[in-house]
């Protein structure tokens, strides 16, 4: 049984979150470090270069790494404070076993690993191999992502492996594969520099990718016009030339209407369309009725602004379109992505200098982590687990008969549903905190309570790991060597700065030892991360995400290599599609018709307000790391309900008043922050907090039919003003809310 073994208060007292601050004069030894380690920040897909200062095997400070070409020393507050996750009082130092009534007790590695392995064997012997599942995460390096994929298939022998990328960029990945046959941002951010128009769609760049702001301003200094599509006036939207405050869930109506105008005014690149694409006619036909008045009704954006955007995009000679979770976290996530790509293809502005397109990957290794096989339908090199040739290639590299590789399994949220149905009875997780990050998380909690066995690998005891039977103390980003792939497709080196403290082990050591104990040790005879990367290179060779020509040495020399890089003498590919040879079977870029449809849940008289969710600059994802860093917690201590003064007045809500927000899935109380910077029909709550402060108690688990991403960005809500401010103590403890 995976119910909590003690009260949440007991568990928090023992394992946190506790806020970590440096001593007033800094950590001892910071001025005379033993080593200065050039590595990267762990907190988003930008992967900013940073130097960590190490003394006595502890990270004691940071220094900007000004030579790294993407960020040249620039950092956001998470980057400045990231060093505080090491040397942290909550750090797990040894394996744990649940102790009913008291929480967890310390156990040795042999006992912890034996218990995990015997439970895997017991459950699989009784219920079949796929009754034991695994959930992974894309803050892991490429090496660990690859290793998890291989571990689940060959050691655990389950098909039910998926990852938290399912909450991140799967809609973009699916859209890109449909349109281009390959899933990577088509350009580096250097191509922003002289783009005439930049359109950023559903991405709060200034809070989620702060260092990208520099590149956008650089373009604006060169004359670029900036269009921002967002239901809120974010800091980047505030200064935009044109802000389109789209009604949540209506994105594809806007992009369809823009395409309608491109066609109507013949702002099209006919040569490009004719020579290098398919599907234009059907795509144009799909938007033939999407005129401005229709678009204004659907999107809530005034028609003249939609027309202005169409004209700016249509008349430009160069452009760059960027999108992120704002359009991807939808039951129509893939359609939204495709409707954006259609605008890029219609104008032929791709594969040339300053003509760019891409999703902005959110997680630390959101790009590389989605390429090398810890996703339920994928094998390394972004191969398809159901494609016989792909399976044969990977089987050869792994040295196993092809039938030994399991077939496609369930996606992350479907795994939760399968636990409810009793089909999955045991689980191992690494780098994933689903009780905070998955939607409708009371339902998710109930699933974890049904598990017969749950082993968690983590460095802090996150909210989900509190339900574990066995906790294996793993490694932080700075405790292991490896590579990650940035949002630009640049493969960079993560350098081990320190070794895991106490008895904690690297994630890699833990997975290798589990594999050995499961009887698959011969397939996991890696001595270090570089050996895993070497096998990854071979496994990816010939796939769309081809890393074969990338080596650690080459990365060191060039500060990063852009895949695809198929041969050792290949320089890498910063800009895709210069040869107009798209990675689709017919070599063409594919238009995909998108007919607008409503989001999974629309407002009605019972639930009349649109709820949308997102991030704040000082927190990262489910907050396992950033809710433990004092200054980041203090900057934005608790989730607040952003509400427009018109909507607030309608309900008699005063600034700071507590409001109970209810959806069909649950309810929660948040203090109101009354701001004119949000649509009057929409409220916003950031999602990084746990327990009673979790916005994901409210969100919908409805999934995109293709990408299976949940619809975090829109659902229908009720507001119940409580007419009183929040108790101060609740604000102070929100970071560790129960």
């Amino acid at each position: 049984m995976a119910r909590l073994p003690a009260t949440p208060e007991q568990l928090i007292a023992a394992f946190g979150p506790h806020k970590n601050y440096p001593p007033q004069q800094g950590f001892p030894g910071r001025d005379e470090p033993d080593r200065v380690v050039k590595t990267h920040c762990c907190f988003c897909g930008m992967q900013c270069g940073i130097k960590l200062l190490v003394k006595n095997n502890r990270v004691v400070g940071f220094d900007p790494w000004e030579e790294f070409p993407y960020n040249e020393g620039r950092l956001c507050p998470k980057g400045v404070q990231r060093y505080l996750q090491n040397n942290h009082p909550d750090r797990l130092l040894h394996p744990l076993e649940r102790a009913e009534g008291t929480g967890f007790r310390r156990i040795g590695w042999d006992a912890a690993l034996d218990r995990t392995v015997s439970e895997i064997r017991r459950i699989q012997a009784t219920h079949g191999p796929h009754a034991f599942g695994m959930l992974s995460g894309v803050s892991l390096t490429n090496e660990k992502s690859y290793l998890v994929g291989k571990f689940a298939r060959l050691a655990l022998k389950t098909r039910n492996l998926d990852y938290n990328g399912r909450l991140c960029m799967v809609s973009a990945g699916a859209g890109n594969k449909k349109a281009f046959g390959l899933d990577r941002a088509s350009n580096t951010y250097a191509d922003l520099a002289h783009a005439e128009v930049i359109m950023i769609c559903g991405t709060n760049v200034s809070e989620t990718f702060p260092t990208l702001t520099h590149w956008i301003w650089q373009a604006r200094d060169n004359g670029a016009k900036l269009i921002v599509v967002d239901p809120r006036q974010t800091p980047i939207a505030r200064t935009a030339d044109l802000h389109l405050p789209v009604r949540p869930g209506r994105d594809s109506a806007l992009y369809g209407a823009l395409l309608h105008q491109l066609v109507k005014h013949d702002w099209l690149d006919h040569d490009f369309i004719a020579q290098h694409t398919t599907g234009f006619q059907a795509t144009a036909e799909a938007v033939k009725d999407y005129d401005l008045s229709w678009a204004e009704r659907e999107t809530g954006i005034v028609a003249t602004d939609i027309m202005r955007a169409a004209e700016m995009w249509g008349r430009a000679k160069t452009s760059f379109l960027l999108h992120a979770r704002g359009i991807e976290h939808h039951t129509k996530g893939v359609e939204n992505v495709l409707s954006c790509i259609n605008l890029v293809l219609a104008t032929g502005r791709i594969g040339r200098p300053y003509c760019g397109y891409g999703t902005i990957t959110g997680q630390g290794n959101g790009q590389g982590g989605r390429e090398h096989g810890h996703k339920c339908d994928q094998l390394p090199g972004n191969r398809d687990i159901e494609n016989p040739e792909h399976r044969a290639h990977v089987a050869r590299v792994w040295g196993v008969p092809e039938p030994e590789i399991p077939h496609k399994g369930l996606t992350a949220y479907e795994i939760i549903e399968a636990i409810h149905r009793g089909e999955i009875r045991g689980l191992i997780t690494i780098c994933f905190n689903p009780l905070v990050s998955l939607p409708n998380n009371n339902y998710v909690r109930a699933a974890f309570e049904k598990l017969e066995h749950y082993t968690a690998i983590d460095f802090f005891l996150n909210e989900t790991a509190r339900h574990a039977d066995i906790v294996l103390a793993g490694s932080l980003h700075e405790e292991e060597d490896g590579t990650v792939t940035t949002a630009e497709g640049r493969v960079v080196r993560i350098r081990q700065a320190v070794t895991p403290p106490g008895e904690a082990r690297t994630d890699t050591e833990i997975l290798l030892e589990l594999a050995r104990r499961l009887g698959a040790g011969d397939k996991f005879a890696f001595r270090n991360s570089e050996e895993i990367f070497t096998e990854l290179r071979h496994a990816s060779q010939g796939g769309t995400a081809d890393y074969f020509g990338i080596t650690y040495e080459k990365i060191e020399k060039t500060m990063g290599v852009f895949w695809p890089c198929p041969t050792l003498d290949h320089p890498g590919t910063p800009r895709l599609w210069e040869d107009r040879n798209f990675a689709t079977p017919d070599g063409k870029a594919h238009f995909n018709p998108v007919s607008y449809r409503d989001p999974g849940e629309t407002t009605d008289s019972e639930f009349p307000v649109i709820l949308t969710t997102g991030r704040v600059v000082s927190q990262y994802l489910s907050g396992t790391q950033t809710r433990r860093i004092g200054r980041l917690v203090d900057q934005y201590p608790e989730p607040m309900l952003e509400i427009h003064p018109e909507l607030a007045a309608k309900y008699g809500i005063r600034d700071g008043d507590l409001v109970r927000v209810a959806t069909r899935r649950g309810s929660a109380e948040f203090p109101a922050q009354i701001v004119e910077t949000i649509r009057p029909d929409t409220i916003f709550i950031p999602y990084h907090w746990p327990g009673r402060k979790s916005a994901n108690q409210l969100t919908s688990g409805e999934l995109d039919p293709i990408s299976k991403i949940p619809e975090f960005k829109v659902c229908a809500a009720q507001l119940h003003p409580l007419g009183k401010p929040e108790p101060q103590a609740d604000r102070a403890t929100a970071f560790a809310s129960t």
Partner: protein
Amino acid sequence: MQNTQIRTDEEFFVDPQRCIGCRACEMACAECETNGQTSMIHVDYVDRAVSPQTSVQVCMHCEDPACARVCPADAITKDEFGIVHTANTARCISCANCVLACPFGVPKKIETTQIMMKCNMCYDRTSAGKRPMCATVCPSGALWFGKREKMAQMRPHSTPVNTFFFGAQTVRTKVNIMMPAGSTALRVD
């Protein structure tokens, strides 16, 4: 000043419109050992109810610093490079005259130690040829440190301004504020 590699050809530029309110500057500033986890740069919302606009305030290092002029203990000095240094801890009597006098609201009296503290343009870094920490980490270019010619080339739509009118008073500063191209001064009143 001895033993310095201060780059006299590099200047500090602040472009408030680019501030995204992330507070990387505050956090990086607080990390400096001489600041003891207190930031010398300050980010505030202008009026969050109507806009996410934030503004950032760093010591402007005045040519004729009011803080130094009103200091009865001669604790505040301006050096040959134009950097107005934080209060000499041995001299500061914690009278807070400087706090009241500064037209930009920069010096802070630290109640726990009864000493005034303010930005000294990362003297430990700039004297070693490095850029100030806040301007190194700023992700949006709201804070930038470098050569004036480079700034002019990078941002042709803006002009650095270092003359401020506060009523009848004119204040000139070492630190520049980026204004629309062609501006010559910022009138605050």
